[in-house]
Amino acid sequence: MREAAVQMEQVHVDYPIAGQAPRSVLNGVSLRIESGEFVAIVGETGCGKSTLLRLILGEEKPTRGRLLVNGLERSQPDRDCGYVPQKYSLFPDKTVLDNVTFGLEVTSFGAWPGMRWVHPKQMRRFREEALLYLRHTGLDESDARKYPHQLSGGMQQRVAIAQALIMKPPILLMDEAFSALDPATRTGMQRLIKKLWRESGTTIVFVTHNTREAVCLGTRIIALSRNGDGSRGSSVALDLAVPDLDFDSEESDIGELVREVESAAVRERPLVYN
């Protein structure tokens, strides 16, 4: 059997609270993400979507259960997973070009920035490659010398995607990456990431609270939902393979899937009547 990109078996995450019982965030989550999939994870605010992503990143460890990424347990974030967060995705002290070449530089030269002057040929190659990725994400050379604060939110996220993809990570994790963008920019970014996924074949795990975005982007949708009385954390309420939709797909197809995902995601929620 082929090795899964991500494999979770009965993963629990509990946060200790002083003087109280631990708060459960994830409760027995099991899932398997195959290489090359575009998985969208949806769920309400606070249901553990970002915790799930941090587990895959290696930033957090499960309290119980087993998590393997490319067949290995993770101890800390590394190059196996690219990462595009919603905020603080770029280094504010570096120009666009330096942001994109940063990964190539540190993996080649290490901690000392002075090394970039010792290897001018290699730096030139890095810059050319970075410009290629910037063009690929819809930016041009005139943007390369700008600092992140001189770019719009959408442009910043384009740079963040180029910055992550230039390292050719087997898995790209995106945490509400387009949430802060206006609708028009958001649609543009959605089209871009889908195009890049089709071209690169990278496994993408995309966390969003927007069901429509999940349906339009993902080839598989995982909905997390809180269990029972809410104190027992979230688990997978829906794991659905969806057709690889285009953004120009029939509105009725998209709408139907959105309804299906939303109804499944809320099915497990407790009904509370006052």
Partner: protein, 284 residues
């Protein structure tokens, strides 16, 4: 009371006038009172007149500090006269101590960074430095004089002990405030722990650290002056303490203004360099 509104927008002239008003008032008030006191008592020494201060300052800035230099400097250029003057020699002595002390704050910055980035180093130093920060540095002065003697080392140690804990803790807090997303991002781009510490966190906090050092320049001078006033044979504070014994206010006041001017220039230079080195900082 329309001017006391949050949305008040004073014009350029108003801003200029308001910002210089207290300077002008202070100067006018001083010379008025000094003039009055001199009218009552021609031997008045507490508040020298402008003429006395100009004479006192030019004596300090243009007359040779040592008796034997009088011969060699007579008839020489203004610059060479200044370079053999008491003011220059005092400025040079205090400036040397000041620069060594500021340079010694760099390891303090690195310690604060490492404490924030590496939990083991943080656990080792944090409590101790938090405690050390509460010790009044001046109370250590006798111990420093006993331990290091009354030479330069004790004065520099006083400045470093007085200011370094603040810089260490400030750097620690600034490093901790870098968003965790940036650190995770660094790891996912293949950066090592030290690459993240030096190339992501240090570079982002550097402008703020320089601002923190700027804000502590006055504390550096305070400890420098305390050391020089108690045990020194040269330096700006030594001279002020010496002149105090002779009620030499005509030189003390220009000396105080000279120190303020130097400190202002150092602060201005650091601020300019900070802006030039980190064009992204203010806007980001």
């Amino acid at each position: 009371m329309s001017f006391l509104r949050i949305h008040a927008q004073p014009g350029r002239t108003a801003v200029w006038t308001l910002s210089w008003f207290l300077f002008a008032t202070g100067i006018i008030l001083y010379f008025y009172v000094a003039q009055e006191r001199h009218r009552e008592n021609p031997d008045e020494r507490v508040m020298p007149t402008i003429g006395q201060m100009v004479r006192g300052f030019s004596d300090a800035a243009l007359k040779p500090a040592e008796e034997e230099e009088v011969q060699t400097t007579s008839g020489s250029s203004l610059l060479s006269r200044f370079r053999s003057s008491m003011l220059w020699k005092d400025t040079e002595a205090s400036g040397r101590r000041f620069l060594i002390s500021v340079a010694l704050l760099f390891p303090a910055v690195l310690l604060g960074l490492h404490m924030a980035m590496f939990p083991v180093i943080g656990a080792f130093f944090l409590r101790f430095i938090l405690f050390f920060d509460k010790i009044v540095a001046l109370s250590l002065l006798p111990i420093l004089f006993i331990a290091f003697g009354i030479d330069e080392l004790s004065k520099i140690m006083l400045i470093v002990i007085g200011v370094a804990p603040t810089i260490i803790l400030d750097t620690f807090n600034l490093s901790k405030s870098v968003p965790s997303e940036q650190i995770v991002k660094g790891f996912t781009l293949g950066a090592s722990d030290f690459s993240i510490a030096y190339r992501i966190v240090f570079k982002q906090i550097l402008p703020r650290v320089l601002n923190s050092i700027r804000l502590n320049l006055k504390a550096v001078m305070l400890f420098l002056f305390a050391g020089e006033m108690i045990a020194s044979t040269d330096g700006l504070a030594y001279r002020i303490a010496l002149l105090r014994r002779h009620m030499g206010m005509d030189t003390i006041i220009p000396y105080v203004l000279w120190v303020a001017l130097l400190l202002f220039l150092v602060d201005f230079a650091m601020n300019t360099i900070n802006h030039k080195l980190h064009p992204w900082f203010e806007a980001a």
